[in-house]
């Protein structure tokens, strides 16, 4: 079943849309939630929340890219659960990943004009678009999905050292790009 057909089921309020979504995307959504939440129960509940959120939002939403639409909802709900949790045994990998990226970029100071979110996002997207498929996968999985180095290496059938080296170089290249565009000084 294509995504377009799936969205049509939602529009027709056919409940099999939820079943099909869980079958097609359940694993992806659980994997993403697991990067933010530690308890399997939380992960399962989060996936159920995503399915309910999608059921309630389509219609009127008409997502152009259903995969990205689901992933964004899953990430937002996971982060919300993370913030609502009163006790976390250890910092989730996803937070560590952003800190790792920030450390590389923090060498540059923000100019006096301040932080421009959309300009920065545009530069990051342009940077991601310039990468090879494998490097793009590595960057997005690490810093958007919040995957561990081990998970990325397993998916690419590569050694962890290779992934670590690739991430190091990607961070350096992004830092250079942001300095070149005047986002950092």
């Amino acid at each position: 079943m294509t995504d377009r057909e799936l969205i049509e089921l939602y529009n027709k309020r056919d409940e099999s849309a939820v079943t099909h979504t869980k079958q097609n995307y359940g694993r992806l959504l659980a994997g993403l939630a697991r990067n933010f939440l530690r308890s399997e129960q939380d992960v399962e509940e989060c996936v159920d929340d995503v399915l309910l959120a999608v059921w309630n939002s389509i219609p009127p939403d008409r997502p152009e890219n259903f995969t990205a639409y689901l992933c964004r909802i899953a990430k937002n709900l996971s982060i919300k659960r993370l913030r609502d949790a009163s006790v976390q045994k250890r910092t989730p990998e996803s937070v560590v990943n952003i800190d790792e990226l920030h450390e590389t970029l923090a060498g540059g100071e923000t100019p006096e004009s301040g932080f421009d979110l959309h300009m920065t996002a545009e530069i990051i997207n342009r940077f991601i678009g310039s990468l090879s498929a494998e490097k793009r996968y590595t960057f997005v999985r690490r810093y958007w999905y919040g995957d561990s180095v081990k998970d990325i290496a397993a998916a690419l059938n590569a050694r962890e050292e290779k992934v670590k080296t690739a991430l190091f170089r990607l961070r350096k290249d992004l830092a250079k790009e942001l300095r070149k565009e005047g986002i950092t000084e």
């Binding site: 995969t67 990205a68 920030h102 923000t110 996002a121 958007w144 690419l156 059938n157 986002i183």
Partner: protein, 69 residues
């Protein structure tokens, strides 16, 4: 730029890249090797093949010809 600002910027990664990264990229080339790796692998196979040929040639006794009377 604070980590929170950076996180917001990364969050605005384009939908097409998020969807693409849902699945690992396909390996191209021969048995997952491409470019320089494929050339190196092919060269290594050729060397092994040639060495095997030389070893076999040295070890196989020459064919005996029928004695002429």
């Amino acid at each position: 730029m604070t980590p929170e600002e950076l996180m917001k910027a990364v969050d605005l990664t384009a939908d097409e890249y998020i969807a693409e990264a849902a699945v690992p990229p396909a390996k191209h080339g021969i048995f997952g090797f491409n470019g320089a790796k494929a050339v190196f692998a092919a060269a290594a196979c050729l060397v092994v093949f040639l060495l095997a040929g030389i070893v076999l040639k040295n070890n196989v006794p020459p064919t005996q010809t029928a004695p002429t009377t």
